[in-house]
Amino acid sequence: MEVQKEAQRIMTLSVWKMYNSRLQRGGLRLHRSLQLSLVMRSAREVYLSAKLEEDEEGRLGPQPCLGEEGAGQPPLQPAAAASPGPPAPEERAAPADRGNAPGAVDPEPMETQDSSGDAPPAAPAPGAGRRPARGVSLPPPAKASRKRRSSSLDKPGAAEAGLVPTKKARLEAEEEEGERQPQGQDGPFPSLAKVLQTRFSGMLRGGPPKGPEPTPGCRPGDGVLSILVRAVVAF
């Protein structure tokens, strides 16, 4: 559990640094980007293995989560982000790439970073991390992430990663949406959760009903990783 949280924290920190490095004078540093993505990857591996262990122990039912198969790639808008946390910059960065997000959005992440303190909580982070990958509709990375997913279809966590469709989806989503709203407001990234809700209302797979546990995601790192890789490529 601790390990999971730590891994999560390091992942979000890396994303934050990745975003920050774009703003640096002299442009994106290839070596730095690579190092950040390496840390991300090892944090993701630790997170995933810790998650799988835990789930095997806990024997939870298959939990639908934010599924990648959730259809087309809705365009991201720097919508109702009152106080986005560190993962949100990555989200912003994605639309920024496509010229949607004006510079005005950029200062926000900086402010929130200070206010949210050193340890960004786990809950919306994986979801947020994953979103940009879907949002930015570039075919090659989507293909890449699809490829990576298929390799883990046989793993026990596949169902809850949303790889295997579950018939319970709709009903649960409605229920959980109701649940989620109060939860979302408690969380440190309330607006983020709100955006997630509004965007994927029909497809939202709830996070675990249990409070502190982060949204199940075998894929959060993937989404962010492909962003990172894309960042490396773009440079």
Binding site: A7, I10, L13, K17, R25, G26, G27, R29, L30, H31, R32, L34, Q35, L38, V39, S42, A43, V46, D114, D118, A144, V229, V232, V233
Partner: protein
């Protein structure tokens, strides 16, 4: 020279504060307790330090694109005050900030490396590089000027030639010494990624420049083309796993060079084998210790500097926590490993947060290859004597040292009870780092660069 002797005998010669700016800017306050507030102009941050081949000249480059050269005074034979002191000899602006319009990126003017050419005539030559462009500078002295022309009027206008009736040969008269720096060659547009190293070949005609993915070979006389000798860029950038972090020519074999990678490996290449040296002749790699695995194992194994010994038999590499000495004849492990600041291993997470884990420390050999030196945090620097296996930690700071005082050895207390005069890990200042050090090629004089100050130390001559 033995280490224990040196420890009592190293004393400060001079400290050069940056003289370029007097503005004081307040630091950002949202840093952790580990970092101190810093008050100086960013442009004054020293980014490279290098002695020339004779040791008479010492060049420093800074983040503002300037090069400052210090010259050693001639020995004072009467007083025999040990060796001469270093004074500012020349200052010039080497690189200016540029803008890459195609990529919409600013190109920093920070000087990444300076390398001296051996002296062939009265002038001195050095190569300086920023992220994209390498320049060859000629530094020459002028201490005489011709006087006695009869071609001009008093006010400076040229006289009407018909009024000139005598032929006067001007005579050289002494003048105040003027040191001029002029760019003789500009080697540009050959690197897509950021240049991290330059190294002059032992043939003194060619040199290499290395960026993250490629190494190019240049001729000093030819600026409009270079040969690519190493290219590790993958066809699909998404498969990128390592980058080049440093490269250097062998001091004696003009066909041999090495380059280090972010994965902790060093490759030795022979240019006689093929035009493109993608396949190494030797691969130096030490298997990772599985007990030390953490999130950050991969990034702390990245090599930040590689230096051949003067003899050419050994090479030294610096990664985040240690210095390793490799025998060129043995590829599977280093022959010596020195821990620079092992007490930081448990702090890697904090160092990741404050970005210190990305610091690129350099290392250097002394003239006889018996001692190696590298920097650390809190303005500490470390020396390791390869023969006696003793090591010492010293501090470069003005607070404790007046000129001519002997440096006191320092000790960091990793855990448990702190003895008197020891410094605990938690009180180390991670804003004060020594990344660049240089050792005089012949004498025991060292140059140590803190963030924006240059310290020159020498050992006491009894």
């Amino acid at each position: 020279m033995k280490i224990h002797k040196r420890s009592s005998a190293l004393r400060k010669m001079k400290c050069f504060p940056c003289q370029f700016s007097n503005t004081i800017k307040s630091a950002q306050s949202n840093t952790s307790a580990l970092m101190s507030a810093s008050f100086f102009d960013q442009a004054d941050i020293i980014s490279t330090v290098e002695f020339n081949h004779s040791g008479e000249l010492l060049a420093t480059g800074d983040k503002g694109g300037r090069v400052v050269i210090f010259q050693q005074e001639q020995e004072n034979k009467i007083q025999s005050l040990s060796r001469g002191e270093y004074n500012v000899y020349s200052t010039f602006q080497s690189h200016e900030p540029e803008f890459d319009y195609l990529k919409s990126l600013e190109i920093e003017e920070k000087i990444n490396k300076i390398r001296w050419l051996p002296q062939k005539n009265a002038a001195q030559f050095l190569l300086s590089t920023n992220d994209k462009t390498i320049k060859l500078w000629k530094i020459s002295e002028r201490d005489k000027r011709p006087e006695g022309y009869n071609l001009k009027e008093e006010d400076g206008r040229y006289r009407d030639p018909s009024t000139v009736t005598t032929l006067r040969v001007p005579i050289f008269r002494p003048m105040d010494l003027m040191v001029e720096a002029s760019p003789r060659r500009i080697f540009a547009n050959a690197h897509t990624y950021h240049i991290n190293s330059i190294s002059i070949n032992s043939d003194y005609e060619t040199y290499l420049s290395a960026d993250d993915l490629r190494i190019n070979l240049w001729h000093l006389e030819i600026t409009d083309r270079s040969f690519n000798i190493v290219d590790i860029k993958p066809a699909n950038m998404e498969e990128l796993t390592e980058v080049i972090t440093a490269a250097e020519f062998h001091p004696n074999s003009c066909n041999t060079f090495v380059y280090s990678s972010s994965k902790g490996t060093i490759r030795l290449c022979d240019m006689r084998a093929s035009a493109l040296c993608d396949r190494h002749s030797k691969l130096f790699e030490e298997p990772e210790d599985p007990s030390n695995r953490s999130f950050f194992s991969e990034i702390i194994s990245s090599i930040s500097d590689v230096k051949f010994s003067h003899s050419g038999r050994y090479m030294m590499t610096r990664d985040y926590l240690s210095v390793k000495i490799w025998d060129l004849n043995m590829e599977n492990r280093p022959v010596e490993t020195y821990q620079v600041h092992e007490y930081l291993r448990s702090k890697l997470c904090s160092l990741y947060e404050n970005d210190c884990i990305f610091d690129k420390f350099e290392c250097c050999w002394n003239g006889s290859d018996s001692v190696v030196m590298t920097g650390s945090y809190n303005n500490f620097f470390r020396m390791f004597d390869r023969n006696t296996k003793r090591d010492i930690t010293l501090e470069a700071s003005r607070e404790n040292n007046k000129p001519r005082t002997v440096l006191k050895p320092r000790k960091v207390c990793a855990s448990g009870k702190r003895k008197k005069d020891e410094i605990s890990v938690d009180s180390l200042d991670f804003n004060k780092k020594i990344l660049h050090t240089a050792w005089h090629p012949k004498e025991n004089i060292i140059a140590v660069a803190t963030t924006n100050n240059l310290y020159i130390f020498q050992d006491k001559v009894n």
